[in-house]
């Protein structure tokens, strides 16, 4: 029994790393554009399909394929931001918060249904990155999960370093604190908006590409991670990437444990989806600013 729980816990950590990628993307978008991106799950979903097609059509090895998928997700996000989100940057736009909610909600519907048409409504199982499993004592883990976890960790570290050390990373930080001040010191805030949205999309897309072989792809695979990402972002404090990562790992493990320990196995799996939603609702009720949050100012 303990080995079962151990395996579940480790699986939970792996999925937590995936959640962390999705959630940190959402956090970056939120802290700079000040909107909640309801289409985030769909970029994640697109990343999954991009990864799959890149591997099957171009026969590229897994790691470059993930990077290409991230680049494609980045490009799609730039397109979306420039065409649909530019009013967020315009001072004449009223109630930007409402606009962000409605437009990203609309984008999610568009992308999801477009995906159903293009990719078909049935789940798609990409081939494994690396077939086989890793066995360490009582721990059994598929290589795909190991790869996903390792790549995810590398991406997260790269993200944190980018935000803390690079010029653009610090520029993003500045814009997230005060767009006007950032513009005054010469930062191109318009570009910052696009970069933030695209970066967030790339992270979600990368998560999708990594998850394909583990959980299969389908056009609506973005719905549940979307709400999970919200749960994580709120838990970790809207605007704190580090907090999002920690919260994501916590959620991944506890969700796994919930399924493992739920008395009725068939119901347990079904209710697993509801687990993060209930956590989300509970956190919003208790502390809308999350556990680590900066006291976040009301949207405009």
């Amino acid at each position: 029994m303990t080995s079962y729980l151990l395996v579940q816990a480790v699986n939970g950590l792996v999925i937590g790393i995936i959640y962390a990628l999705i959630a940190s993307g959402l956090t970056v978008i939120f802290s700079i554009l000040k909107i909640v991106n309801f289409a985030h799950g769909e970029i994640y979903m697109l990343g999954g399909y991009f990864g799959y097609f890149v591997i099957t059509l171009l026969a590229i090895p897994p790691l470059p394929a993930v990077l290409v998928a991230m680049a494609l997700a980045f490009a799609v996000s730039v397109l979306l931001e420039r065409s649909l989100l530019s009013p967020l940057f315009d001072p004449r736009t009223e109630r930007k918060g409402d606009y962000g909610i409605l437009v990203t909600f609309g984008i999610s519907i568009l992308l999801r249904n477009l995906a159903i048409i293009v990719f078909g409504p049935f789940p798609l199982r990409p081939p494994s990155f690396w077939p086989g499993t890793l066995v360490v004592g009582e721990l059994i883990l598929s290589w795909d999960r190991v790869f996903a976890a390792a790549t995810g960790i590398v991406i997260l570290i790269a993200l944190l370093m980018f935000l803390a050390r690079s010029a653009w990373g610090q520029a993003l930080n500045a814009v997230s604190q005060s767009r006007e001040s950032a513009a005054i010191v010469g930062i191109n805030d318009r570009l910052a908006y696009t970069l933030a949205f695209a970066l967030g999309g790339a992270l979600a897309g990368g998560a999708g590409a990594l998850v394909g072989p583990i959980y299969a792809l389908s056009p609506s695979m973005g719905l549940v991670p979307d709400t999970q990402a919200f749960a994580i972002v709120v838990l970790g404090g809207m605007g704190s990437v580090g907090g999002a990562i920690i919260a994501a790992l916590l959620l991944g493990v506890s969700e796994s444990m919930f399924v493992a320990l739920f008395p009725d196995p068939t119901r347990g799996l079904s209710y697993a989806q509801a687990f993060s939603l209930v956590v989300l609702m509970a956190v919003l009720l208790i502390r809308p600013t999350g556990l680590y949050g900066r006291a976040h100012a009301a949207m405009e």
């Binding site: 919200f230 989806q273 949207m299």
Partner: protein, 311 residues
């Protein structure tokens, strides 16, 4: 308003004559359009007037539908009583949601209500012994004849009732208070508006109308699946409200009818329809934020001679 009365009479006559002139397929479309009109109008009351951004509205449609259907099926209740009870359930749960969300604003409220809606859908799907799950639940139908005309008339009656009730509310001081809360909650409180009471109230009212629509739907279609409370359904309602005009009850109704008619007219295009509505929603938000129909109405008003200008 006076110059517009002939228009209203014309609309009324057309609405009453419609079921007798339309073929059965388009009659069904008309009934569904009315169903969506009630749901969209009540969403507009909640979001457009009172500013309470809820993405969980269709959860109450599902709640109303399943509650009413189950009370008839398992409890042996007569349909009108079951429907009334279902509306009451939605009123209470809606008030509850409004009450626990008091500290939430904007996107937080949207996320919370979305999560609530999804949890409800998951519960309905999982507890399939009671609800039939994804396989569906059969619900008793209101009428047993072959024609759908009685259903249409009931639906029309419910729509008129709903619009009259919501319209009265909006014109009364409650309407002022809702809008004040939307514009500036802090100023509203400083002006003596009982914010807590009115936020709970608007949630309760909007949810009741959604539940009413849901109960009607259940006893009209006769078959329920958890999808009536899905995110895509919510998306459809949002598209209807935004395309019509999210801050006006009549515009919301017209938006619902227009979109539903389009959905049916483009049935041949299958999945592309939802893509179209997503795109239409986005284009409207981007370029005609107050809604296409509101935009059209404005153009019409400007084109008409001064004397006829409304208000």
């Amino acid at each position: 308003m006076r110059a517009v009365i002939p228009v209203w009479i014309g609309v009324g006559v057309a609405a009453l004559a419609y079921p007798f002139l339309a073929d059965p397929y388009w009659l069904t479309v008309g009934i569904l359009a009315i169903f969506y009109a009630i749901v969209t109008a009540s969403w507009t009351l909640l979001v457009g007037y009172a500013g309470q951004f809820s993405f969980g509205h269709v959860a109450f449609v599902a709640l109303g539908a399943y509650a009413s259907a189950l009370l008839v099926k398992d409890g042996g209740w007569p349909i009108p009583l079951a429907a009334l009870a279902a509306v009451a359930v939605c009123l209470v749960v809606g008030a509850g949601i409004g009450g626990i969300c008091l500290r939430m604003r904007g996107p937080y409220l949207a996320i919370f209500t979305l999560a609530f809606s999804e949890v409800l859908r998951i519960v309905i799907t999982t507890e399939n012994e009671v609800t039939g799950g994804s396989g569906g639940l059969q619900a008793a139908t209101l009428f047993h004849g072959r024609s759908d005309i009685p259903y249409y008339l009931v639906a029309l009656g419910l729509l008129v009732f709903s619009l009259a009730a919501m319209g009265l509310m909006v014109r009364s001081r409650w309407g002022l208070f809702f809008r004040a809360i939307r514009e500036n909650e802090q100023a509203a409180a400083a002006s003596g508006v009982r914010v807590v009471r009115f936020r709970v109230l608007v949630f309760a009212i909007a949810s009741s109308f959604a539940g009413l629509a849901g109960a009607f739907y259940a006893h009209y279609i006769g078959m329920l699946t958890p999808d009536i409370g899905s995110v895509d359904q919510m998306g459809l309602v949002v598209a209807m409200a935004v395309i019509g005009g999210s801050e006006s009850l009549p515009a919301a109704v017209l938006g619902a009818i227009a979109v539903e008619v389009l959905v049916e007219a483009l049935r041949a295009y299958g999945q592309w329809r939802l893509v179209l509505f997503g795109a239409l929603l986005l284009l409207t938000m981007r370029f005609a934020r107050n809604g296409l129909l509101t935009l059209g109405w404005e153009q019409l008003r400007r084109a008409l001679p001064r004397r006829v200008a409304v208000r």
